[in-house]
């Protein structure tokens, strides 16, 4: 790895981290697990002037019972979340999805906060957060703020986070009684999904889609159809409606829309059966 040169500091608290970001301006980046940022730096597609390393803040790695919701520290690693008993019981979709990210090395280093803050439409966890109606707690020099997942992802690799704002906690409504399904379609187990579907059914049905547009997003047309009484087959046929998925080496937009329909139908079938 031969990145461009950069400065590096370690921060031991969230307040210290956002203070550093605030001083450094837009060219500073937080470094947590590094599994999104470092590959970009290796290719010099990202050239931050300052890395603020928050990886040492172990007090931000936790899964706590917050009454109606689970509170998950932003620095909780995917592997920790996948194995956590409380998460597996109260947010089984999220714990399952965390266990499907990348490969064991990625899950050993990558953090849920890093995955969400990166805002990659190809990542699994943001779609799961959308399906579960999660909300995100952030810190900044202006104080703490909470936003819903639905208002968080604003553009390709862009989020509502200000340059000096840090994600500190993910809150997920408890969903022990819900049925769910996660359908990840890829060619190699370690890869990002070509298309993924995270579906939670708890009275209403919420469907998060992976890699079906510029941001992590919901299959609203299919959700609306279900709410209107459509069958799984009818609803899933609308899974790609209104979306502009990317065309790349893995798949054309047309094929992604087809996959979304197939995978949403399979997810619905599994969730209904479950």
């Amino acid at each position: 790895m031969i990145p461009a040169s950069f400065d590096y500091v370690r921060a031991s608290t969230a307040d210290e981290a956002v203070q550093r970001l605030s001083e450094a301006g837009e060219d500073a980046k937080l470094l947590a697990g590094g599994h999104s940022l470092l590959p970009l730096m290796r290719l010099r597609m990202a050239t931050p002037s300052l890395l603020v390393d928050i990886g040492g803040m172990r007090d931000l790695s936790y899964v706590k019972d917050g009454g109606d919701s689970l509170a998950i520290g932003a620095l909780t690693r995917h592997g920790e979340l996948a194995r956590n008993e409380l998460a597996r019981r109260e947010a089984p979709l999220l714990a399952h999805v965390a266990g499907q990210v990348g490969d064991p090395q990625v899950r050993h280093r990558g953090t849920i906060g890093g995955s969400i803050a990166h805002g990659d439409p190809a990542s699994d966890l943001p779609a799961a957060c959308l399906a579960l109606g999660a909300s995100f707690v952030t810190a900044s020099p202006r104080g703490e703020q909470t936003r819903s997942a639905d208002e968080f992802f604003t553009g390709f690799l862009e989020t509502a986070l200000a340059p000096d704002e840090m994600l500190v906690e993910i809150r997920v409504p408890k969903s022990a009684g819900a049925t769910w399904s996660f359908q990840k379609f890829n060619r190699r187990a370690q890869d990002w999904a070509i298309v993924g579907v995270a579906l939670a059914r708890n009275g209403s049905t919420r469907i998060g889609l992976v890699n079906m547009g510029a941001t992590p997003l919901r299959a609203t047309a299919a959700e609306d159809a279900l709410a209107g009484g459509a069958s799984p087959a009818e609803a899933s046929s609308r899974a790609g409606d209104g979306l502009a998925p990317p065309s790349d080496l893995s798949a054309s937009a047309e094929y992604r829309r087809h996959l979304a329909r197939v995978l949403v139908r399979r997810a619905l079938e599994e969730a209904v059966a479950g």
Binding site: L249, Y255, L259
Partner: protein, 796 residues
């Protein structure tokens, strides 16, 4: 010569763990990038981002202001350093066209990745920053990325050649017979196949380090290469350093698959710059760089036709090939199609044969040998098109093969293409593979899934292959215009303590030669394999050698080791006879000792003979001291391994996803020295063929921009994508060497791709799908299914 079977209780045939592995697994082994030389300058090559352009200007001065940068040179700056162009050792025809190819381009770039400047700095970070600072102005030209477009000469890449066609090579012993066979045929079938470009992706990218010796003008060059000996000679010619002043060492090398069977620009540059700067020069390739600057494999468009009688017996094979050379001819680029040229009749008894190949330049990375080199392509074509013949005749995949196999009693078999196959038992391998794969149960399950309209359909694919390896008889290479021989050298010496030292001209980079050569020697000398030291991959230690490629090492280099060992035994016998005061013919050598026949108490262990040879106190008159012998073995023929693979796939007809359900391989590589190593080669080889069938493709856009420049985009499969393979073997010794060995390094790759695609086509046959391009991506399979079902692909 008679072949020897592995003797029960002997060392040959044992599943010994590899001697090499502890150092590799613990990190003790040193690769080029691990070599830390004080004062070394790190080189970064500035590469063209465009596929085809005139170079208007190259300004390296901005690099010179980057802290740590010591020097920077353009291609023109270094023009005077070269005594010759980068070598192509295989001018396949007298009129073959080859462009001048210098280590750095001077006037034009011909592929994205072509080097235009080099920056030297005190760290690799500074060198990279300096490289980024170099300013190059390009005047872009239209790029040629399509082989038919290349042949049309719409855009001529190398002005001085006047054409993009490098050569046309023909092998048609009897044109009239070909015409007659097709005119008289009851059945003719035609296959058109694209062998996509592949990126070799060795686990260790390339690297080179050149250390100039301070006073005497000599250089030690470390390179991640398969060919230290060939490299030494070629660099002497290219850089103009006397051969005697270059020592080449291949340290631990992390795989090659043919991609390190080359003489690369960076190796020549490092040597020339070490001469110019009088400092050590180090260059380490990055992974993304390797997707452009290291040769690529395959890149052929194949048309194959079979003529057959009413029962499906093939009466003629006719092949036309269009081969992608890439931008320049590297070391053996033009020869790769020729390595397959003789094999398009596969394992079948075909009386009439015709092959022709047209090779063209394109604006893409040069192609060259990649695992199998010409033979996987040939096998793919015949093993795919014979499925069409089976369908035309109305018999199944196994039956069409049985009707056409060369029979065991026909060996040695003279092929219509002009080879003599050494030995084979093709039907036996097919029978065993069908039995192991559980074919009857699979067909029943397939019928059930078809009947019920299951969205997951089952497909079974067979591939019966043979290959030629053991490169190569030198006289045959001469007839193909290759500019070197095909022999291999070995020296075996007994040390005073009875230990054994072997020097081999092969250059292992993952094959386990230290283990296998130790076993060959131990088996013959009656010592333990741990008592044998194998030295290799250093031209100062092993002065003679032709290195490792083309599944040649065991059947040429290993045989040389065996011959040299036997010569040592013969000399030792003379000494033992002298010391025991007995006639040589009354001595026998068994279990590591010379013993008088009939009087076992008169015996002398080999170790004692070795010490006597060393002290030389009491040797027969006229006999020189020490026990050492060499062999330079030139094989009398190629060897011809073979086998049958059976692949079972599940195809999700909704998504097009293909999953391997099981894979059975029955390979015959003759006598096996170490079955554990054989299985390792088979496993890796199968995976590389599966990778071509399902996953890998070097993709370029229409402007020649490479799109697969990371391992996120170029999909090398991992264990999670693959089933556990079932492997078995038959043993048909080669009669052409005293070990009876054939070679196994490429067999898995040669047999596997057609087995996978045949399985996919079998799964989808009820839909009328009988071909599938490689790689069979989910989208490609889904589109085929959608078209076959007459559905508009919904969406958009």
């Amino acid at each position: 010569m008679t072949a020897t079977q592995a003797a029960p209780g002997g060392v040959l045939g044992q599943r010994l763990l590899r001697k090499e592995d502890p150092a590799l697994l613990t990190g003790e082994a040193q690769f080029v990038a691990d070599l830390n030389v004080p004062g070394a300058l790190h080189a970064v090559i500035v590469r063209s981002p465009v596929a085809h352009a005139r170079i208007l200007s190259v300004d390296v001065s901005p690099a010179m202001s980057v802290p740590g940068v010591v020097a920077a040179f353009t291609g023109k700056d270094l023009e005077g350093e070269w005594a010759g162009p980068l070598p192509c050792a295989w001018p396949v025809t007298p009129d073959m066209k080859s462009p001048a190819h210098l280590p750095l381009a001077t006037d034009k770039v011909c592929y994205a990745g072509d080097g235009v400047a080099v920056v030297l700095a005190t760290s690799e970070y500074a060198a990279r920053d300096g490289g980024d600072a170099v300013a190059v102005e390009y005047d872009p030209l239209p790029a040629v990325v399509d082989l038919d477009d290349a042949r049309s000469d719409r855009v001529v890449i190398h002005d001085e050649l006047g054409t993009n066609t490098s050569y046309v090579w023909e092998l048609t012993p009897d044109q009239a017979a070909v015409d007659a066979a097709f005119a008289d045929a009851a059945h003719t079938v035609h296959g058109h196949y694209v062998q996509q470009r592949l990126i070799p992706s060795a686990i260790e990218p390339r690297g080179v380090l050149v250390i100039p010796q301070p006073f005497n003008g000599e250089y030690t060059l470390y390179s991640a290469t398969q060919i230290p000996h060939i490299l030494k000679v070629m660099l002497a010619l290219t850089v103009g350093v006397p051969e005697t002043a270059i020592r080449v060492i291949a340290p631990a090398v992390g795989g090659g698959f043919g991609s390190k069977l080359n003489v690369y620009a960076e190796e020549a540059l490092a040597l020339a710059l070490a001469r110019k700067m009088r400092r050590p020069i180090r260059w380490i390739e990055t992974r993304s760089e390797a997707t452009q600057a290291t040769i690529q494999g395959r890149g052929q468009i194949q048309d194959i036709e079979l003529a057959a009688d009413a029962e499906g017996r093939i009466t003629a094979v006719r092949v036309k090939l269009l081969a992608d050379m890439g931008a320049y001819l590297q070391l053996v680029t033009p020869g790769v199609p020729l390595l397959g040229a003789f094999l398009y009749s596969g394992v079948y008894d075909v009386p009439v044969y015709s092959f022709s190949c047209t090779s063209v330049f394109t604006n893409m990375t040069p192609t060259d040998a990649y695992r199998g080199a010409g033979r996987p392509e040939a096998t793919y074509a015949i093993e795919r098109v014979i499925e069409d013949l089976a369908r035309a005749v109305g018999v199944d995949s196994a039956e069409i093969r049985r009707r056409n196999f060369i029979k065991a009693e026909q060996f040695p078999y003279s092929s219509a293409a002009g080879l003599v196959y050494d030995s084979g038992a093709y039907e036996q391998a097919l029978d065993r593979a069908l039995e192991l794969s559980g074919m009857d149960g699979l067909r029943a399950e397939q019928a059930r899934r078809r009947e019920s309209g299951d969205r997951v359909q089952l497909g079974i694919g067979i591939s019966s292959y043979m290959e030629m390896c053991g490169l190569a008889p030198s006289r045959v290479l001469a007839s193909l215009n290759y500019t070197a021989g095909g022999w291999e050298a070995a020296t075996v010496r007994l040390l005073p303590t009875g230990k054994v030292q072997v020097v081999t001209g092969t250059s292992p980079h993952g094959q386990g030669h230290e283990t296998s050569w130790s076993m060959i020697v131990a088996d013959r000398l009656g010592v333990g394999p741990e008592d044998v030291e194998v030295l290799h991959s250093d031209t100062a230690i092993a002065p003679y050698g032709l290195d490792t490629y083309g599944s040649r090492s065991l059947s040429v280099g290993g045989v040389a080791v065996a011959i040299a060992t036997d010569r040592v035994i013969a000399k030792a016998k003379a000494i033992a006879a002298h010391q025991l005061e007995i006639a040589e013919e009354d001595l026998e050598f068994r279990d590591g000792a010379f013993t008088a026949k009939g009087t076992p108490e008169r015996s002398m262990p080999l170790g004692a003979v070795a010490f006597e040879a060393f002290t030389a106190h009491n040797l027969p008159d006229g006999l020189e001291p020490n026990l050492e012998a060499s062999s330079h073995f030139d094989p009398p023929n190629f060897t011809f391994p073979f086998g049958t693979h059976v692949c079972v796939v599940e195809v999700d007809t909704e998504t097009g996803l293909v999953s391997l359900r099981s894979y059975t391989a029955v390979d015959d590589c003759g006598v096996q020295v170490n079955p554990l190593i054989v299985e390792g080669q088979v496993h890796g080889g199968i995976t590389q063929g599966v990778a071509q069938a399902l996953f890998e493709e070097a993709v370029y856009d229409e402007d020649g921009n490479p799109k697969t420049t990371t391992l996120m985009d170029y999909l090398v499969p991992a264990a999670s994508e693959l089933p556990s393979y079932v492997t078995d073997s038959t043993v048909t010794p080669s009669p052409t060497n005293l070990l009876g060995v054939k070679g196994i390094g490429e067999a898995g790759t040669i047999g596997s791709a057609p087995a996978v695609i045949n399985a996919i086509c079998d799964a989808l046959a009820p839909l009328g799908i009988h071909d599938m391009a490689m790689p069979a991506t989910p989208e490609r399979v889904w589109r085929s299914i959608s078209e076959a079902r007459g559905e508009e692909a919904k969406g958009s």
